[in-house]
């Protein structure tokens, strides 16, 4: 039957295609015979409109780009093929080059012969042939490209930041200070995140609270920041510049307006609950509580499952003593809808559950602690007012063992390095020694003290007389083999420096547990339409060149949500994300890839097959004319409706049937004269 490729294919005469094959140093040239490929393209694809084919060391370099621009101007090229790395890396670069030479950027097509050929194949002949096929496909495809104009969308200046840890706080302040509105959504009753739980921060040992609290307060009081704690994002609609976000504001059971934050209710509440969040399970809180005295906002929440009133209907102690009568037992969740232009995700991390390594005895042996427990233990505002004591609450340890890489760099748990554990362990070594004078042992695989002043801190801790044993601890046991082990925790380890097994009896063991993604990170990623690594860390747009943006326009990531990192790095990334957002806001509008679907009305039969297919509600049906229409603003260009339309009445710019069908022919070398094929 009628094959629309022929009908819509521009006649050969029109095509003036330039093919540019990149060596990428030896990255490509090392495996693919780029010279042969270029010559081949010049000859075998001549009849398909290829007028010039060049190879060059680095196409992406400015001389490389100049080559293209020059040819466009001098040879009047109207199509360009660049065979190099992945389009995700340099598509922009070469499109810009074309634009500079006055060629519509969308008439340039990239062919990946690095990521998809030279880097994954070893057989040079086969790789070279595959590169030819790829280019042939690109040529056929680009012949069907049409000049496109990017789609311009306005940017709503308001920004949503999810997660009130240090990264989120930093982003929020940067943007708010620049004079734009920020919604900061935090799941817990207060912002501050993990940093608020710490006592000191490495390597400078300045007091965590002292540097964080002011920031927390300025967030709480900032006119440009709407702080939504005890809240969670439920749904995200829309697209960059124009997101509409549904937030559930959980019932605090306290009227934030009336409450003065005096704290009497917490004092009077008879119900004591182990605080597994802020106190890391090492301390208690009440059934009505603020995580800490420094909480922002300084407004308590009622822990409904633990509150006697909700259990028995009696008590009401808090209510009775509350002067401003701010307690609202009947308060309900609120659903808010926020309209924002950009979103920053700073949802942080979770501590590795050390109980998963039973032979380290956490949860079994009382005096085995986790890093976070020690943070609280050393914290002056913590359950022991900063006294480092054993589980009994009084005894001071005389010897302490700190085990590194707990749950990290271990194929049984997490392969990755949690980055912060080394420095954190050194910090503990210092603090414990300082507070107790105890002898401290560190058991490590390597000491990773990169970054400013870190190694200096390591030296300092060494000088303090801390013992360092290089070796992965086999087990922590309370089974003595001799009298001086009795009553102690024995750390069984192979000292790899001296190459012998050691059993070191200590009073207290600190497990420097690694960092893990939030348990619900995958659901969160789904809600926001971004992707997660296998472990659950959010995936950045590019590991090196763009560790802040995501694949989804308008959604940025900061802090540990993207991967383990320490405070300075989190702050830096938070600020960077803010800068990116501010840039967007300043532009007021942004250009989007013109990859969109549209309906050819006279072809549309109004069968309504496509109507239910669009998750972005871009498809509407006009009962009057009995035709379907696609709203280009809402369309995200996935092309599902294009593929589904039984009448072939929907076309997709950028990924049209013609382009793909032609590319198939090209890839299968259907476009080469028989003799050329055999040649």
């Amino acid at each position: 039957m009628t094959d629309n490729i022929e009908n819509t294919s521009p006649s050969d005469a029109q095509e003036k295609i330039g093919v540019y094959v990149c060596h990428c140093g030896t990255n490509i040239a090392g495996v693919v015979d780029v010279v042969q490929v270029a010559n081949w393209a010049a000859q075998s694809l001549k009849h398909r409109g290829v007028v010039i084919a060049r190879e060059y060391k680095f196409m992406c370099s400015s001389p490389g780009q100049d080559l293209i621009e020059k040819d466009i101007k001098e040879l009047g090229l109207n199509r360009v093929i660049v065979a190099a790395c992945s389009p995700h890396l340099h598509e922009k670069t070469f499109r810009t080059a074309c634009a500079n030479a006055g060629l519509n950027p969308y008439l340039c097509e990239m062919v990946s012969i690095r990521e998809q050929v030279s880097w994954v194949h070893t057989d040079k002949v086969a790789a070279t042939e595959k590169a030819k096929a790829a280019i042939s496909g690109g040529v056929e495809r680009v012949r069907h490209h049409v000049p496109l104009q990017p789609i311009i969308v306005p940017i709503n200046p308001a920004t949503l930041i999810v997660g009130g840890g240090i990264a989120g706080i930093q982003s929020a302040l940067e943007i708010a200070d620049a004079g734009f509105h920020v919604y900061l959504v935090e799941r817990e009753p207060s912002i501050g995140g993990h940093m608020a739980q710490f006592d000191k921060t490495f390597p400078t040992l300045d007091c965590s609270a002292c540097i964080l609290t002011p920031k927390m307060n300025s967030v709480g009081t900032h006119p440009n920041i709407t702080l939504l704690t005890w809240s969670e994002v439920e749904k995200v609609d829309g697209y960059v510049g124009n997101f509409s976000v549904t937030v559930r504001k959980k019932a605090r059971k306290v009227d934030e307006e009336l409450c003065t934050g005096c704290g009497i209710c917490q004092e009077k509440c008879p119900k004591k609950v182990i605080d597994n969040v802020f106190e890391a399970g090492l301390g208690y809180r009440k059934a009505i509580y603020t995580p800490s005295p420094q909480s922002v906002p300084n407004r308590p929440v009622i822990d409904v499952p633990n509150c006697t009133y909700y259990e028995k209907g009696t008590c009401k102690a808090c209510d009775i003593f509350c002067a401003p009568k701010a307690i609202r037992f009947d308060q309900e969740d609120q659903i808010l809808t926020l309209n924002v232009g950009n979103i920053i995700l700073a949802t942080g991390y979770e501590l590795f559950d050390a109980r998963r390594i039973p032979n380290y005895g956490y949860g079994r042996l009382p005096n085995v602690f986790t890093s976070l427990e020690i943070e609280r233990l050393t914290n002056a505002a913590g359950p022991t007012n900063g006294n480092v004591v054993m589980r009994d609450g009084k005894t001071t340890p005389k010897t302490v063992g700190i085990i590194h890489c707990v749950g990290s760099r271990d194929k049984n748990y997490n392969n990755y390095c949690s980055v912060i554990c080394c420095m954190q362990s050194l910090k503990f070594a210092h603090l414990v020694h300082e507070r107790t004078g105890a002898q401290v042992y560190n058991f490590y695989i390597d000491i990773r003290a990169a970054f400013k002043d870190y190694d200096e801190f390591y030296q300092r801790v060494l000088d303090e007389g801390t013992m360092f044993v290089r070796g992965k601890v086999a087990e922590v046991t309370d089974v003595p083999r001799n009298e001086n082990e009795r009553g102690k925790l024995i750390i069984q380890v192979e000292d790899t420096l001296v190459g012998k097994q050691r059993r070191i009896p200590v009073d207290m063991v600190i497990l420097s547990a690694g960092l893990e993604p939030r348990k619900d990170s995958k659901e969160v990623a789904k809600t926001f339409g971004i992707s997660c690594s296998v472990n659950g860390w959010f995936i950045e747009k590019h590991p090196k060149l763009d560790p802040i943006a995501t694949m989804t326009e308008g959604i940025f990531i900061a802090g540990c949500a993207q991967g383990p990192k320490d405070i300075p790095a989190s702050v830096a990334q938070g600020a960077a994300a803010a800068a990116r957002v501010l840039g967007r806001i300043e532009q007021k509008e942004m250009a989007l890839e013109p990859v969109r679907a549209s309906v050819i009305e006279e072809k549309c039969s109004g069968c309504r097959i496509c109507n239910g297919l669009c998750p972005f509600n871009a498809i509407t049906f006009h009962e009057d004319r009995m035709v379907t229409e696609i709203n280009p603003a809402l369309c995200q260009g996935c092309g599902t409706c294009v593929a589904a339309c039984p009448a072939g009445a929907i076309t997709g710019t950028g990924f049209s049937n013609d382009q793909i069908m032609a590319q198939i022919e090209g890839l299968l070398m259907m476009n080469i004269e028989p003799e050329a094929v055999t040649a």
Partner: protein, 336 residues
């Protein structure tokens, strides 16, 4: 010999419905008679192949060619008429896309013959099958050879226009006759070569009067198994109606008559593969996410390949099933 332009109509592997459809333009047939010198139209008159051969190339102005290319004879005539005709029209589903006989491409020609000559009522103990040439006591006699794969007209010769339908609706034929007559009188222009004439650009749903909603298919039904709502889209009621993918132009006759569209008008304008469109459309609106559920629903489509390629098989991208291709390649070898 008159000065009137010459007209020819020919059928290859077809059922003759196309000729009947032409006769069904009733009075309009006289216009044809008035405007054309009908030089070759076996159904309506006698003429001689030798005369056609004698004509000079391109001397026939308009040839309506219906029927698919089933045997070497069909192919020969197709090429001859191509030579002799200025305008060659693939007329009717068979010439356009193979039509029902195209379904034969699902099996190879041997299977076809064997099946036909071993039915329960056939008395054929010695497995006698027709042979291209057979010598009787009196001498050799011949019959044409069946090709392994039934071909559409444009798979053997260049085609100027396509007129789909099984058969093309009479009102469409009338329209085309009007057009041609106008063109002859210089009152109209011919459409660009390769275009489809005598049909719409959209699909059957465009002409179908049944009400429709956003589609979701929870199960496929058999037309005999339900009492369909006479006013509601059949597909929405689970009846596999090919209307959404089938070119408009028939006034949605079958759906209007309560029967599902079976797709005789072929794919819509610009569509490359008719069946693929239906695969995609039907699958897209299935209301299930788990592979098992999906399979359960798909089980309701007892004959997907037949459903999607009933008329279009020979004209589809894949064109025939593996067995037929095997036969074809051996055939090619024999030829070589």
């Amino acid at each position: 010999m008159t000065a009137k332009p010459k007209f020819a109509m020919y059928w290859a592997a077809s059922c003759g419905g196309c000729e009947i459809a032409v006769l069904n333009i009733h009075e309009k047939i006289l216009d044809v008679d008035a405007n054309f010198d009908v030089v070759f139209w076996p159904v309506a008159m006698d003429a001689k192949y030798k005369d056609v051969e004698a004509m000079e190339d391109g001397s026939i102005l308009l040839t309506l060619f219906n029927g698919g290319i089933r045997n070497d004879e069909n192919e020969h005539i197709a090429k001859l008429l191509r030579k002799k005709s200025k305008i060659l029209v693939a007329f009717g589903s068979c010439a356009n896309e193979g039509c029902i006989p195209g379904l034969a491409n699902l099996s190879n020609s041997h299977e076809i013959v064997e099946t036909a000559f071993n039915t329960i009522s056939t008395d054929n103990p010695n497995k006698v099958y027709p042979m291209a040439s057979y010598s009787m006591p009196e001498g050799e006699i011949h019959i044409p050879t069946i090709l392994p794969v039934l071909k559409t007209l444009d798979q053997v010769v260049d085609v100027d226009y396509y007129m789909p339908g099984c058969p093309p609706e009479s009102h469409q034929i009338e329209a085309v006759v009007d057009l041609v007559v106008k063109v002859l009188q210089g009152k109209a222009q011919l459409p660009p070569k390769g275009s489809v004439i005598g049909a719409g650009n959209s699909t059957v749903c465009d002409e179908c009067q049944r009400a429709r909603n956003v589609k979701t298919i929870k199960s496929f039904e058999r037309i005999w198994g339900v009492a369909p709502d006479p006013a509601l889209c059949l597909l929405e009621q689970g009846i596999p109606c090919n209307g959404p993918a089938t070119r408009s132009g028939c006034n949605a006759r079958c759906p209007t008559a309560g029967a599902q569209c079976i797709g005789c008008y072929g794919p819509a304008e610009g569509v490359v593969d008719y069946g693929a469109r239906l695969v995609s459309a039907f699958a897209s609106v299935i209301d299930a996410k788990e592979p098992e559920e999906i399979d359960a629903i798909l089980d309701g489509l007892v004959d997907p390949t037949g459903q999607f390629y009933r008329f279009n098989l020979a004209g589809s991208l894949l064109r025939a099933a593996a067995p037929a291709w095997k036969a074809e390649s051996t055939h090619e070898k024999e030829k070589a």
